[in-house]
């Protein structure tokens, strides 16, 4: 059994940061709903830390899920894994200081030239602290994915073989296909190294522009690189986390989850599509080349579906008549597949160009990613936490955990749906102030969020109990 203190540290830090970020989310919703007085600059600071922190923490915890299962098949470097955690914490501290001590509030998108040209809402130091913080976090993750990539190549010969292209081509039998953890690890390595290269370029560009605004850059290219980094990196969280579904359900049902050709093709397609579809963030940029916008629409439809369909179908099939005994981890893993499936629907609708022109700047989009991440990716991480606590610590679940489970489903769904309803009401997103007509859903979401935090706290407490028992 591969387990160590580092995995626990990753998950505890990731879990606690997610919890804290939820609190900022509630405060923003309550402020938008008129239930709390928050100055606009403070709101945008909260929005910046909420977006950055959520994606960062979820990616950190998801990388622990991937590392845990991948290290059972390939040799990974513990030192690099540790270095990533240290660099993450250093970067996080810089981001927090930039946001709260120097009023930096550009949202996670740090869209050029906003870090520099803030109309004096914040200064150079705040922008530099935030950007260097992001750069350091990116360096940590880059080292981690270089390590996973090298380990997979050492074991399989190449990343192509890690994705099972030799099996797809018929050079190898299906029974010799790579394990799902290796396939997912290969996919994530490819997309995230690409994303981090784009991210490093655009962050350094922003740093140069902040230090010397005379150096100006093409804003459209900057936006492309920003989303090629941010969208792909955020998207990869679910592909790292889903490994727990493959491994956990296979163990619980005593059935193997072997990769076949359809499974391999699906993962290869999602690898390519994930790199292409960030362009659905550019559908409102009329100066973008038309063919890129068409790619954005067509491949956004196609992106999640291959892996989602084979995984959702596989989940149903592996569970069907298996006599599985449901507990928190298997329940959460199953729930996460539901969350992933329903969470992509609003995204697919929004990726349609004519719809996008109306919906993209509304709260419809946060509705999508809260559902997708909150009921999908993050639930997979919680499933892994319960799984570890059970198989490694033998920790029993209580009625309180089940109460948390059902509360989490209801409240996370409520938070997501209120965003979608707000979107349908044409409520703009990223606005600190709402007109009275827009306030109802936000207030409802804020109140639901309070119960969501309680449910999540119970999940984290369970895991912390396991960690404390072990030490």
């Amino acid at each position: 059994m591969v387990h160590n203190r580092l995995i626990k540290n990753y998950l505890v830090i990731g879990g606690i940061v997610i919890l804290l970020m939820m609190v900022f989310g509630i405060l923003m919703l309550l402020a938008q709903g008129g239930g709390l007085s928050l100055s606009p600059p403070t709101f945008y600071q909260f929005m910046t830390i909420h977006g950055t922190g959520m994606i960062g923490a979820a990616a950190l915890a998801a990388s622990a899920v991937m590392w845990y299962f991948l290290s059972q098949h390939v040799t990974l470097s513990k030192r690099i894994f540790k270095a990533n955690l240290i660099l993450f914490l250093i970067g996080l501290v810089l981001v927090i200081i930039g946001v709260f001590s120097f009023d930096y509030a550009s949202a996670w998108t740090f869209l050029y030239p906003l870090p520099t040209l803030s109309a004096k809402a914040w200064g150079i130091i705040g922008a530099l602290l935030y950007l260097f913080g992001m750069l350091i976090i990116g360096i940590g993750f880059l080292l981690l994915f270089i390590d996973t990539g090298r380990a997979i190549i050492r074991k399989k010969g190449s990343l192509a073989k890690g994705l099972g292209w030799d099996v797809i081509a018929g050079k190898k039998a299906e029974k010799d296909a790579p394990e799902p953890a290796i396939i997912a690890g290969t996919m994530v390595t490819i997309v995230n190294v690409t994303a981090l290269i784009a991210g490093a370029t655009v962050i350094m560009m922003n740093i140069i522009h902040t230090i010397n605004p005379a150096f100006t850059f093409d804003p459209l290219l900057a936006k492309n690189l920003t989303y090629a980094f941010g969208h792909v990196f955020a998207n990869s969280i679910i592909y790292m986390s889903v490994i727990v579904v493959y491994e956990l359900l296979a163990k619980y049902t005593n059935r193997s989850w072997k990769a076949n050709k359809v499974f391999l093709i699906a993962w290869s397609m999602s690898t390519i599509f994930t790199l292409m579809i960030y362009t659905h963030h550019m559908l409102m940029d009329s100066v973008m080349p038309k063919w890129m916008l068409i790619i954005g629409q067509v491949f956004s439809y196609a992106n999640g579906l291959p892996v989602l369909i084979v995984t959702a179908y596989g989940t149903l099939m592996i569970v069907y008549k298996s006599g599985i005994k449901w507990d928190m981890s298997s329940g959460l893993a199953f729930l996460s597949m539901f969350g992933w499936t329903v969470g992509v629907v609003p995204a697919i609708i929004d990726a349609t160009i004519v719809v996008n022109h109306v919906m993209h700047n509304t709260k419809w989009v946060p509705g999508h990613f809260h559902m997708y991440m909150g009921l999908g990716a993050v639930v997979m991480i919680f499933a892994f936490m319960y799984y570890l606590a059970k198989v490694d610590g033998g920790l029993k679940i209580t009625k309180l955990d089940w109460i948390a489970f059902f509360s989490y489903i209801v409240t996370m769904a409520a938070v997501s749906v209120q965003f979608l309803v707000s979107g349908a009401l044409s409520t703009p997103r990223r606005w600190a102030t709402h007109t009275p007509e827009w306030m109802g859903p936000a207030l409802f979401g804020g109140i639901a969020g309070v119960f969501l935090v309680i449910a999540t706290t119970l999940f984290i407490v369970h895991f912390v109990r396991y960690v404390c028992n072990e030490t």
């Binding site: 270089i146 190549i153 050492r154 010969g157 190449s158 290269i197 370029t201 560009m205 100006t216 290219l221």
Partner: protein
């Protein structure tokens, strides 16, 4: 090897060659600078330099120093100042062979992850420089016109494409080769 390095160095110091290489921005950046680095690599050869064993045992210190020097010479300002300030010109002729020397000494010693990190870092930073030189409306160097900047930007962009294709070839087809063993 050492004699060849010295000969090379003297040739690069020769006023005719030096001035002609420095008169064109792209030659200055992509020919003179790499050749000076090559002098250091040749100077090092395949010898075991004992004085380096103590402090550059795992190659990290040497490589960090080499990368530091490289970063300095990647700044357009450094290149510009080398043309007008003799101290910087001397520093260029001293530091770049040193960079090559340290690079050669450290490359085999450092771990694979460090090597991959450097490679990928070159990819993103060359991309940034291509963008900077091609896109910025500012004349970056006093000694070179904007159209020369654009040529340098194009060479940087071409380098990115070559590095990218090579990376794809390694990870999808060739593998890690000897390293894997």
């Amino acid at each position: 090897m050492m004699k060849l390095a010295i000969l090379f160095f003297i040739l690069l110091l020769a006023p005719v060659i030096r001035e002609s290489l420095e008169s064109v921005m792209v030659l200055h950046m992509f020919l003179q600078l790499p050749l000076l680095i090559l002098v250091g690599v040749l100077l090092h050869g395949n010898r075991n330099w004992r004085f380096l064993e103590k402090w550059n045992d795992n190659g990290v210190a040497g490589m960090l120093l080499a990368v530091g020097v490289l970063i300095f010479w990647m700044l357009p300002r450094s290149l510009d100042d080398a043309l007008t300030e003799i101290e910087l010109e001397i520093w260029k002729f001293a530091s770049l062979p040193l960079l090559g020397f340290l690079w050669k000494n450290s490359w085999r010693k450092i771990g694979g992850i460090f090597k991959s990190f450097l490679y990928i870092n070159f990819l993103s930073m060359f991309g940034l420089l291509a963008w900077l030189y091609l896109g910025t409306p500012v004349q970056i160097c006093n000694n070179y016109l904007i159209n020369e900047q654009h040529i340098v930007g194009a060479v940087y962009l071409s380098s990115v494409l070559v590095l990218l294709l090579n990376l794809l070839y390694i990870v999808f087809f060739r593998g890690l080769g000897e390293e894997a063993e």
